[in-house]
């Protein structure tokens, strides 16, 4: 890889994805670090929600960013980097789930219940909600879970989800409907 002009962190932070991808392809590690800094959070959240364990999520995200680094030369549209990351992360996570035995635990954010100011009765209720949601998410198929997480947690459009998972918009709508019906049933007591 060539040795393009290196830049400072502040300069890198101000650049758009396409520029950072182009510079990364030229071997500029700082540019790629900025892309990692920019998207490691969303990709980790996505992976954690799909695979359900922080260890597997970390491994998946690390693999994704390494794969992305190696394959930057194959990316035809530099501006499409984020969509490519979503697709690669989702596929990586679905592969993890397919290899794993069914009903592995899904970890959920305990942030709300861990708040010190939460009243004890409220903390118990929140904990019960989290347990119910954990069970409900665990019972979704991997594809339903991926569609639901991409839509509800990441705000991706049906079109983007279809492209990410490699299916049709119609299939995405169907999976979302089934996922939501199951989750709604389980979460009904807390509506």
């Amino acid at each position: 890889m060539g040795g393009g002009v290196r830049m400072g962190v502040a300069e890198a932070a101000a650049l758009d994805d396409a520029t950072l991808v182009a510079r990364s392809r030229d071997g500029d590690m700082r540019a790629y670090e900025q892309l990692v800094r920019r998207y490691q959070g969303p990709m980790y959240r996505l992976a954690l929600r799909i695979v359900g364990s922080s260890g597997d999520a970390e491994d998946a995200v690390q693999d994704v960013f390494l794969t992305a680094w190696r394959r930057l030369g194959q990316l035809h549209d530099d501006a499409a980097f984020l969509g490519w990351l979503y697709r690669t992360t989702t596929n990586q996570c679905l592969n993890v789930l397919r290899k794993r035995k069914p009903h592995a635990d899904t970890e959920l954010d305990e942030h709300e219940s861990a708040e010190p100011r939460t009243r004890p009765d409220r903390a118990v209720e929140v904990s019960a909600q989290l347990d119910a949601l954990r069970d409900a998410l665990r019972d979704l198929t991997p594809e339903q879970r991926a569609c639901w997480v991409l839509r509800e947690v990441h705000g991706r459009s049906y079109d983007e989800i279809a492209e990410t998972i490699g299916t049709t918009q119609q299939a995405v709508r169907g999976r979302l409907a089934r996922a939501r019906a199951q989750l709604a049933e389980v979460m009904a007591p807390w509506r």
């Binding site: 890889m1 071997g27 590690m29 790629y32 670090e33 990692v36 800094r37 490691q40 959070g41 990709m43 980790y44 959240r45 954690l48 929600r49 922080s54 970390e58 995200v61 690390q62 960013f65 390494l66 680094w69 190696r70 959920l108 954010d109 942030h111 709300e112 909600q129 989290l130 949601l133 997480v149 839509r151 509800e152 947690v153 459009s157 049906y158 709508r173 979302l176 409907a177 939501r180 989750l183 709604a184 979460m187 807390w190 509506r191």
Partner: protein
């Protein structure tokens, strides 16, 4: 479900599309028609409110995870290793 009142858009139609509305996945005209119906139909608005609440609840429960602090450093170290091998 039907509330028995006359509407341009049928209640069952509205409720079957409530998620498209919430997800902002219907076109402008369809969105306006659904919004008009919700504005004038209390049972549908109530159902819509429940779905909206559920959507917010689920999204809130699934937010707030942060990538481990050392993840970026680990990725960088591995890339440096790979580059050294090349």
């Amino acid at each position: 479900m039907n509330c028995g009142e006359p509407h341009d858009t049928d209640c069952s139609e509205v409720l079957s599309e409530v998620w498209l509305f919430l997800d902002r996945e219907c076109d402008k005209d369809r969105r306006a028609a659904l919004q008009t119906h919700l504005d004038e139909c209390h049972p549908c608005l109530e159902q819509f409110g429940l779905e909206e609440h559920l959507k917010a609840l689920l999204a809130r429960k699934c937010g707030g995870d942060y990538a481990p602090a050392d993840l970026k450093a680990r990725i960088r170290a591995t890339i440096v290793e790979i580059r050294a091998e090349d």
